[in-house]
Symmetry: C2
Subunit: 354 residues, 2 copies
């Protein structure tokens, strides 16, 4: 599929969460229809999509039905089972490509890829057992973080080691999953670049945002980030390098640590990213539309930032403050249509124009 998708075409989205929901809305704005594939019932994206297929990723018939109804497939999360991707890829183009998924699904592969590209990461070592861990601690030192190589998100699947004496309990937490030990990075700030690339190789990056986490979950992103002009340029060039190397098509979130020794890549996410939600209030074209444009083979839109914005996540019962937030000036509310507000669950976000 090198040609451009025309309005009226249908974009398939794997995953029906809030990212799929906001992608659906952006697709509609450009005249596209969307179909959602999601194992869970009543997914947020389903409220704004033309069709929802509720089925497991192991259900080949459902995957075929999904592929039959769409012109191109994209996704809102990276942990899609390989077998599903193998089948879908034989039926329709998947954008971003498998290479991006393979790299980002595994923290070890990801860090090796970044280092090969000449980009700095935290020192790391693979850990499969107690011997590996002892060697890794000897090599890397503490404080460090032991993380599962796969399936971690929002601080899940990771544990901090203050010293060697934490090794045993940390390893027990991994429950035998292949892991990676990363040296703790002493950063002054965490920023992220939301970058987009289309099939013609056009790259566009949004202005880097500065992230603050709480209990491992993104709390706020603020633009502009408190970084120098040189750091801003570095960050954008690093992101562009990653997308180009992967022949990437779509939007990627690149998280970076700002350290006295320069920028260090923390992780990449081959999809629209929570730290890019501010673009809905600060740009003519937001990250969701930029992703859809890229996936559809269109020119990228104008993502220049015209306002200072703070994005605040609404987690769990934060949504109880809703009617107060609704009264605030310069405040844009985005709710995800999730029925139950569980602790740690992302229920929505607020963009405040500063």
């Amino acid at each position: 599929m090198n040609e451009m998708l025309n309005p009226g075409a249908t974009i398939g989205i794997l995953g029906g969460g809030q990212l799929g929901r906001m992608l659906s809305v952006a697709a509609a704005r450009l005249g596209f229809k969307t179909h959602i594939f999601e194992p869970g019932a009543n997914p947020p994206a389903g409220h704004v999509a033309e069709r929802v297929i509720t089925a497991a990723y192991e259900d080949e018939e459902a995957l075929r039905r999904f592929a039959d109804g769409v012109d191109v497939i994209t996704y809102e999360f990276e942990n899609i089972p390989t077998s599903a991707l193998d089948l879908l890829e034989s039926l329709r183009p998947i954008r971003p490509n498998r290479k991006a998924l393979a790299v980002s699904q595994d923290r070890l592969v990801e860090k090796a890829f970044l280092n090969e590209l000449g980009l700095a990461t935290a020192p790391f070592a693979a850990v499969d057992d107690a011997t590996d861990l002892a060697e890794a601690i000897a090599e890397i030192g503490c404080p460090a973080i032991l993380k599962t190589r796969r399936f971690g998100y929002d601080g899940k699947g990771q544990v901090r080691l203050k010293s060697e004496s934490d090794a045993e309990t940390a390893l027990a937490d991994m429950a035998g999953a292949p892991s990676i030990l990363e040296r703790f990075v002493d950063f002054t700030a965490e920023i992220s670049v939301i970058a987009a690339r289309n099939p013609s190789g056009e790259v566009a990056c949004f202005d880097p945002g500065e992230n603050v986490h709480k209990s491992g979950i993104l709390h706020t992103t603020t633009v502009p980030a408190r970084i120098t002009e040189a750091q801003r340029t570095d960050a954008v060039l690093m992101a562009a390098k990653i997308l180009n190397k992967l022949d990437y098509i779509g939007v990627m979130g690149v998280e970076l640590f700002v350290t006295p020794k320069g920028l260090i890549v923390n992780e990449i996410a081959p999809r629209v990213h929570n730290s890019g939600h501010w673009t809905q209030a600060g740009c003519t074209v937001d990250q969701f539309e930029q992703h859809i444009r890229a996936v559809a083979g269109w020119s990228l839109g104008d993502g220049a930032r015209y306002a200072d914005v703070e994005m605040l996540n609404l987690i769990g019962d934060d949504v109880e403050k809703l009617q107060d937030l609704a009264k605030q000036p310069r405040t844009q509310i985005h709710l995800y249509g999730k029925s139950e507000a569980k602790p740690g669950r992302k229920m929505g976000h607020v963009n405040r124009v500063l």
Copy 2:
């Protein structure tokens, strides 16, 4: 229904065109689901709604099914058959109310209502036959416009009389429909105020936009309008007076002529309005969200304008320029998902930040 709708509630929308589509998206942003009732197949709003009921307004069973599934009913066009409204109103609250519909469905009732409120309109007279028309021309003079009292939109159902000699052909054009003769207003500009009112009586108006029509169809709306501060205040106060008098809940479009003698109300539309599409690019909260907030009984949002914007309608084959538009800086594209580009058909619009 005096209480507030909580996220998760469902808003029913009568009409599945582009206005319903953009209302659906705004509703989703606030965590609501939408159901669309529309006689035509594959309506634009259906691509972004949880449910679409395809049925005639005469289908009582379908109307009941629609009402059963929603918490409140709103609409995207004013010519809803009375019998359907009678039934729906007995089942669920309809916002805006029937009074607003009754006034705006009939140009004669509308003008009488506005004059009673002390607001200026073009001189007018009811015309049912040739005798009425002769009398009306004698009273009002020419140039004048003969319009059907009901069901006119986008310049349809109206004909201009340069002089008395045009009377016979003009009347023939009305095909026996009850009509109204309006004196042609010599205006320097046409502006519109997009005004919102919620159940607590809170009123908020967007900055007036200046409209340019082509062949009877809105071509551009530009903000700010080229009017004085006094005119801006007048316009907003006039709009607020109308909404308050009608106990209105929702967004209304109020079209005004700017004349050397002051502002004259052209017509009102009890719904979100094409001349308010610029708010998507110029305000934190746009007209669609403002309507949903009002209908849901929420506080109105911050609709202060932060940018100069030109909204350009894409009519018929204007959409062929799409890929050129996609490359323009500061340009936001909105397509309506209509499959066929017929002449005069609104296919989308573009908001350019100036």
